[in-house]
């Protein structure tokens, strides 16, 4: 057992923190108000290799593995959830699907420019009638010679408006359903019949654009089938499993930031003749925050280690997502309460954190779905099949 980070990860964290503090934090409020992460910021991240941290160097990545990627998400989550979401959806699910199941040619063609940050990725699974019940997707792909013709509408797609390359799940055989009837495709934004639909107006992560993606007789070359034909369900489950660990890492960063803010304020805010840090209600809240954050940190980096060493990690990744999102929400709740009325003001960063954090309990698989994943993995060896 060794719980220390290797030297190269320590150096990487230092580099990422510098980027986050100097290039992202000063913009965080503006990103929220203006509703976008500046392209300039993405370019700077790309120049540092931050758009492809988990991927091998041969495909333009940094070779940082899941551990490196979780460090990136933690540090970005600490300063700006919107930026973490944009880079996270690009790396952790959009490009990740291609990395996990792409052919060498597909990786060369698509993963490389994505990992270098020359292009932006999105991951398109959710539809109006298929949220938690992802297998209920209706988008169809019908074979036509060397092409598949896609028709349908995807909803709530992070990076939708900016994405150059989208991994899309579509039904290729309705009679087979999720097991064998869904296929993953790589779609370029220039493909005819592909367009961006309406944009969502969200409570938080406002700097991260969310939109519909519409496919109207969109021809996708057969060589852009991602993974095995009919095995799209497996591709997106594998992708989402890994994405959940890094989402937990972004939550860890958000929780950590809330703790730091709460402590800073509790030290200087005086009521009843002394700093409020001296009040039990306040310092017990802070003690609970710190305890939960330590537990979360251990869970995240142990899960990253499971992924990097090729061990089973589905249950643990789901735990990272549930525990991470709920710890972050609880910590931000407490920090807001410690700030009192000022925490409710849009002039203070806690207000933004409060709005941003709430989505983590919902997106990339609601916490209800994560609990089903955890329970079904616990009960399967016992011979009990859990279905949603």
């Amino acid at each position: 057992m060794d719980f220390t980070f290797p030297k190269e990860y320590e150096l990487f964290r230092r580099m990422v923190r510098e980027f986050a503090e100097n290039e992202v934090r000063p913009l965080a409020q503006e990103i929220d108000r203006e509703g976008r992460v500046p392209m300039e910021t993405i370019k700077k991240a790309a120049a540092l290799g931050l758009m492809g941290v988990p991927f091998p160097q041969e495909y333009g990545g940094m070779g940082g593995g899941e551990t490196g990627y979780c460090i990136l998400m933690e540090e970005l989550g600490r300063v700006c959830t919107s930026t973490a979401t944009v880079i996270g959806a690009h790396t952790g699910i959009g490009a990740m699907a291609i990395y996990l199941d792409g052919t060498p040619e597909q990786k060369e063609k698509y993963l490389t420019p994505l990992a270098r940050g020359e292009k932006i990725a999105a991951f398109a699974l959710t539809e109006a009638g298929a949220g938690s019940d992802a297998a209920a997707i209706k988008t169809r792909a019908v074979r036509d010679g060397n092409y598949f013709i896609l028709n349908g509408t995807k909803q709530f797609i992070t990076n939708g408006p900016q994405a150059d390359i989208v991994t899309v799940m579509a039904v290729t055989d309705p009679s087979l359903g999720a097991r064998g009837g869904v296929t993953a495709f790589i779609v370029e934004k220039e493909f005819p019949g592909f367009r961006v639909g309406s944009h969502e107006n969200k409570m938080g992560i406002r700097g991260s654009a969310t939109s519909e993606l519409i496919f109207e007789d969109c021809p996708v070359p057969a060589e852009n089938v991602l993974g095995q034909f009919g095995a799209g369900f497996i591709t997106f489950m594998k992708t989402l499993d890994i994405g959940r660990a890094s989402l937990g890492a972004a939550c860890l960063g958000g929780a950590q930031a809330a703790l730091e803010l709460a402590m800073k304020w509790a030290k200087v805010r005086e009521q009843f003749g002394g700093p409020i840090a001296q009040k039990q209600e306040v310092h017990f809240m802070i003690a609970d925050m710190a305890t939960e954050i330590e537990a979360l940190r251990s869970l995240i980096y142990r899960t990253a280690w499971l992924i990097d060493t090729g061990q089973p990690h589905i249950k643990e990744a789901a735990m990272c997502k549930v525990f991470g999102s709920e710890v972050a929400s609880r910590c931000i709740q407490r920090a807001l309460q410690i700030y009192g009325a000022l925490g409710y003001s849009r002039d203070y960063p806690i207000e933004r954190a409060f709005r941003d954090a709430r989505i983590a309990e919902i997106f990339e698989g609601t916490n209800e779905i994560q609990r089903i994943v955890i329970a079904s993995n616990l009960f399967r060896p016992e011979g009990v099949r859990i279905s949603p």
């Binding site: 209920a136 969200k202 209600e281 309460q337 009192g340 009325a341 003001s345 849009r346 919902i362």
Partner: protein
């Protein structure tokens, strides 16, 4: 024991619900987005007597008992929490202390304008350095001939930008005193409007008192007894805030239930899932508990028996439950709940304020614990 409403109260309840549904509900999203309550809505409320709710009939008011008043707040809050709070700040934080502690002269001078919407009321207690520790306020009122000069600044004054009359707390030789301050009093300036997470229809402003001159006859209650005015007023408003929390929570629950019936996943409405049933059942249980607490406390107000302990219990329970319910009902909505097209998104932001405004949950817990220990001869300090 009798838990039923009187015929009159039931009639009011119906009328309030109709008003909320017809006049307020359609504006709720507009109020949040535009960050203002249309003047026409205040006008309509005034025409219905809602801004004169607590003023006795013989003085031209609606003369509602407090139970009926809470029915009004519940219905208004179910439609728009911003509006319900603006109405309550006027009625309970401004009109109530005037009715309770004001002289006949003060009532004659102000009640009429307050009753008919010509003049909205506000309450100025909080300061930058005096939030939960309200007794630490630093605004001073010094004697100057036949009046006082007020110096200091007040923060988070709800209705600040709209109010014609402010109940202001300041330090005099005798201790903390309450004053009735006209908006056009020389030296009074309404400043910075807070930008808030929710309750965006409210105007919460900083109030600058720069040698603001107030005539001696505008002292509200006895000099040095201002904290009694504040304490009594806050007790009553905490019950009102309970009613507002109740109305909001009820509406959030309704939104969640509706969504769970309409939204289908895994081959049927999500209402068929146990976790959704748990969210709904827990929320309904809390709403019922809130209702009992709120209306018992409202009845105590009518009996002249409300105490600080009960007011704090109502406020603490109702505000925490209301936010918890907004949170769980947002979860029932899934991704839709995070989008501004759905009312639950606004409710989640609005309800979060309940745990802070008019006394944080922390000070309510202190007040509750203090009473428990005082009865056992132990003094505790905040």
């Amino acid at each position: 024991m009798d838990f039923t409403l009187t015929d009159e109260q039931r009639m009011f309840q119906k009328m309030f619900a109709e008003f909320a549904l017809k006049e307020v509900q359609p504006l709720a999203e507009h109020i949040d987005r535009q960050e203002e309550i249309p003047a026409s809505l205040f006008q309509k409320a005034a025409e219905q007597g809602f801004l004169a709710a607590l003023i006795p009939e013989e003085k031209g008011g609606a003369g509602l008992d407090f139970v009926s008043y809470c029915l009004l707040l519940e219905e208004l809050a179910a439609a728009s929490m911003s509006f319900a709070i603006a109405v309550n700040v006027h009625n309970v934080l401004a009109v109530y202390p005037l009715l309770t502690f004001g002289t006949d002269g003060q009532k004659a001078r102000y009640l009429n304008a307050l009753a008919f919407g010509e003049c909205l009321g506000a309450f100025a207690l909080t300061e930058a350095g005096a939030g939960t520790d309200a007794g630490a306020l630093a605004t001073r009122a010094t004697r100057d001939g036949d009046g006082y000069l007020l110096r200091g600044s007040k923060h988070w004054v709800t209705n600040g930008a709209l109010a014609g009359l402010f109940v202001v707390f300041a330090r005099t030789e005798e201790g903390i005193s309450a004053f009735l301050v006209d908006r056009d009093a020389p030296g009074l300036k309404v400043g910075y409007r807070e930008k808030t997470l929710g309750l965006r229809g409210l105007t919460c402003n900083t109030l600058y008192l720069d040698g603001c001159r107030v005539p001696a006859e505008n002292l509200l209650g006895e000099a040095g007894k201002g904290m009694r005015v504040a304490g009594r007023t806050l007790d009553v408003t905490r019950v009102a805030l309970g009613a507002i929390s109740l109305g909001g929570a009820r509406a959030a629950l309704e939104a969640g239930v509706q969504c769970s019936i309409e939204h289908e996943q895994f081959g049927g409405p999500i209402a068929l899932k146990q976790i959704i049933q748990k969210y709904v059942a827990d929320a309904a249980t809390e709403v019922e508990a809130m209702r009992c607490l709120v209306y018992r406390a409202a009845w105590l107000v009518d009996q002249g028996q409300l105490d600080t302990y009960t007011a704090s219990v109502v406020k603490l329970f109702a505000s925490t439950a209301a936010f918890r319910i907004a949170n769980s009902m947002l979860q029932v909505h899934g991704g839709y709940g995070y989008m501004k097209e759905y009312a639950i998104e606004r409710m989640y932001r609005d309800f979060r304020a309940l745990e802070i405004i008019e006394g944080t949950s922390q000070i309510q817990r202190f007040l509750i614990a203090r009473k428990i220990y005082k009865d056992r001869k132990l003094e505790i300090q905040p």
